[in-house]
Symmetry: C2
Subunit: 337 residues, 2 copies
């Protein structure tokens, strides 16, 4: 059962609330805290992207094509479609000699409002490159090029790349891959349905890869360092993932997913956090994520102050009157060993 | 307690759900059906607009200023900011000799995507006129002009117009006005916090005004006929209120409110419906509204087919792949007398 995680007030009344689930797991696989059912099954969505980037590193493609850490961060992104994201993806495609049309992610207006306005001012439609998943797809094409996989059906579950990724997700989440429920993601590739406990476990491994075999440990350090060194590539301007990793100064690995999904790894606590909002709305998600980190002691007062607009968003109207607040309303429950 | 009203699937998994409350009340004031707590208190938001339009009619302002029924429909609108809405509001303001700057509703990009793109293509910011509430505000200014009320503070609860409106809401909802919880609406005017049973009762009176005194009955017929005769003014292109009233052919009076609010009056059944989505998201709302009407027998098979995209929205991704469905999942509970 889900629990109320966030209340949205207007004046003296709670006008709406957002329910969901939280699991906090350490790199020993122990469930440490939870709110609601920590074994609630949902799709991991884009929070799986750091795992999906593993073959880029382990295939040797980075060396062969001269892929940079900044570009690797873009493979883990749900980016805002700003110029530097679009140019980043274009740069990757040039390196592997593949045309942008080969990206099978579909297109949508950039998340970034200024980038959207720029396109509209020029009377332009968004391209595949503006899709928030174009970085991930360019990374998938890098692996296909490196491993000589077919390029035209790389989004299908049967494709060898997607089979590799499914194996990796099962392994990282310590969950039988045949039990993973497969759906279609916003960008057309398979998404992985499994308990949020297992998402949190994967992020605990991202935070503390010492539990993993040597080669994998190094891969994970490369990927998570790329994300925390180039957080603007993982999200964009005024995006939670970017701002949280900036404030976290290398200690926090954060990645959102669609439909109210969020995961964070806390390096110095060797913890992974999974959040799933029941209604899929983004409004409640940021307050929940920051509140979990606060309750875990992973953000100090100064850091919390920098993230205040994510933690306690103001409910302002078209006139900018302050009408109410969005406020987290839960306490992490300690799970007894 | 709220109940699950809608499930959002992706592949074989329910990825999200939307909870809420439904109340169905007849014009005798009897609660006939409900889902969740029918006395849940929330803000009535823009579903109160038909009531807020009453003083325009009863003050004699329509005759004095030559206000048309089409313009009256706009006073009840949360419009999409399309050209015909903006021109409609401008026309009203001209008739009462008030400048658009006097509208205190604030501004936001038009709900209509094409109207937004048009503004952006020209490098223009949205004006007060594009605000979805500009029609209501122009109607408020009509009354102020007619009654010689001050124009500069008409949004404040203390203003005589807002006091009149509060009286009307209390009367129509049969709820003590001193118990109504007041918040600030998206456009700066007071919003009314009261049980959804009472919202539904007001819509039962809109559907069947015979219970009201003669003068009020006529007023209500003028307002609801304006809404059903000019449904494109109440919402806009591809908006539920507009399309539902078109399909309803005069039998249904429908008006959305922000944060997952919706009300419908069914004339031939003398019923009022109130819907409140707990999370405030619009995604679940249309399926709930159509499903309630279906279960009440207020829409036949042909009408339901015309509203299919509202009833069972497809969950499609950036590539237009069909990933899942949004499906209503509740049964109205008959309330025994």
């Amino acid at each position: 059962m889900s629990e109320v995680l966030v209340e949205v007030t207007r004046g003296d009344l709670v006008e709406c609330c957002h329910r969901g689930y939280v699991a906090v797991v350490n790199s020993q696989g122990e469930l440490v805290y939870s709110v609601g059912d920590p074994y609630h099954i949902s799709y991991w969505r884009s929070s799986a992207k750091p795992i999906q980037a593993i073959p880029v590193v382990e295939s040797g493609a980075m060396e062969r094509y001269g892929i940079t850490l900044k570009e690797l961060a873009l493979f883990c992104a749900s980016h805002s479609g700003e110029d530097f994201h679009v140019e980043g993806v274009l740069g990757v495609l040039k390196k592997i000699d593949i045309a942008p049309e080969e990206l099978r992610c579909g297109s949508h207006m950039p998340y970034n409002k200024k980038a959207e306005a720029k396109l509209l001012e020029k009377g332009l439609a968004p391209s595949n490159l503006h899709c928030n998943c174009s970085g991930k797809h360019s990374g998938m094409l890098v692996v296909c090029q490196q491993k000589n996989y077919p390029l035209d059906d790389y989004t299908l579950l049967e494709h060898p790349l997607q089979q590799e990724l499914l194996d990796l997700v099962g392994e990282f989440c310590n969950y039988p891959k045949e039990k993973i429920i497969i759906g279609i993601d916003g960008c057309g590739v398979p998404v992985y349905g499994l308990p949020i406990y297992n998402w949190a476990l994967a992020y605990a491994y991202l935070a503390d890869p010492t539990a993993l075999e040597e080669k994998r440990r190094k891969t994970i350090e490369i990927i998570t360092n790329a994300m925390t060194d180039f957080p603007e590539m993982v999200g964009g301007t005024d995006r939670l993932c970017t701002d949280l990793m900036k404030v976290g100064k290398g200690n926090l690995i954060a990645k959102a997913g669609a439909e109210g999904v969020y995961c964070v790894g806390i390096k110095d606590q060797k913890l992974g956090i999974a959040v799933k909002m029941e209604d899929g709305s983004p409004r409640g998600r940021a307050p929940v994520v920051i509140e979990v980190l606060k309750q875990l002691g992973a953000l100090n007062e100064e850091e919390l102050a920098q993230l205040k607009n994510y933690h306690y968003p103001e409910n302002r109207n078209h006139r900018r009157d302050l009408c109410g607040m969005v406020t987290p309303k839960f306490t992490l429950k300690k799970v007894l060993a």
